[in-house]
Symmetry: C2
Subunit: 125 residues, 2 copies
DNA sequence: ATATTGTATATATACTTTATATACAATATA
DNA sequence: TATATTGTATATAAAGTATATATACAATAT
C-alpha cells in the first residue's frame, strides 16, 4: 500500500495518512479483513513517530473504517456501505436542521425552503 | 448604553462587547444613526485596551451593524432588515448546498431530500 | 492649534494543535 | 515459557493560532 506524506503541506501528517488510507479502503484497493501495515512499521517507513500513525489509525477506527487489536494489528472493517451512508445521513440531517433553524428566524416557510432546495439541487449539476 | 464584561468568562472580551452591542441594536435600544461610545471611551469604561474595543467594532462593521468615521465616531447603520435577511439567506443557501452535495454522494434524490426537510421542519417546532 | 476620533504596526501572552519519546499491556509464536 | 511483535497510555516539546496590549499615526471637529 502506497502512502506518501509531504512535510511542506499545511495538512497535518496524521490527516494525510488518514485520508490516503481512507481512500484506499473506499476504492477497494485494500479489502475488508485485510491487514494494514502495523503502526510501528508505517511509522518507520514514513520516518515519523508511532503516535502520529496511531492518531491516524484512531481516526480511521472512530469513523468505522478499520479496527485494531493489540498484539495482532489493524484491519479493514467490513465496509457495509450502509454504515457509511448512515453516517453521512446524520451529517446531512444536522446540516438541514441548522438551515431550518436559520430559515425560521427570518420567516422562511417550508414551501419557500423547498423551492430553494429544488433550485440548488438542479443548479449544482 | 449598558455593557458588562466578565473576565472569567471563556468568551473573549471582544466577542462579549460585540454580542451586547449587536443585541442592543437588534432590539432597537440604540437606533439607526445614533452614536456609540467612542472606542477609547468604552475601552476606558471597561478597563480594556482600545484594540479590544476596536476589534469588536470591526466585527460589527463587517457585519453591517455599525460604521465608523475617523474623527467623528461610530454609528448605528440603517438597519434595513432586508440586509440582515439577505445575509442570513446566503448562509442558508450555503448550508443547503453542502447538504445537497453530501446527499448526491450517497445517492439521495431530490424527492427524498424534500421529504427529509419537511420532516425536520415540522419536528423542530 | 488642540483635542477627539478611528487606524496601523509591532509585540506579548495564553491556548490549541501537532508531533514526539518512552514506558506499558496484550497477543503471537518459536 | 521466553521473546518479539502488536497496539495503548502518559507526560512533554514545538509550532501555530487567538486574544489582548502599548504606542505611534491619520483624519476630523472645534
Amino acid at each position: 500500500m502506497q502512502i506518501l506524506i509531504s512535510n511542506n503541506s499545511k495538512e497535518p501528517i496524521y490527516e494525510q495518512i488518514y485520508a490516503q488510507i481512507k481512500k484506499h479502503i473506499l476504492t477497494n484497493e485494500i479489502q475488508a479483513g485485510h491487514s494494514l501495515p502495523s503502526m510501528r512499521q508505517l511509522a518507520k517507513d514514513l520516518d515519523v513517530s508511532v503516535i502520529t500513525t496511531k492518531r491516524a489509525y484512531e481516526e480511521l477506527e472512530k469513523n468505522g473504517f478499520i479496527y485494531s487489536v493489540v498484539g495482532k494489528g489493524s484491519f479493514v472493517s467490513e465496509q457495509n456501505n450502509e454504515m457509511i451512508k448512515e453516517r453521512k445521513m446524520k451529517v446531512i440531517e444536522e446540516q438541514l436542521f441548522t438551515a431550518i433553524q436559520n430559515s425560521k428566524e427570518i420567516g422562511i416557510s417550508l414551501t419557500e425552503l423547498k423551492e430553494l432546495l429544488t433550485l440548488l439541487y438542479r443548479e449544482e449539476a
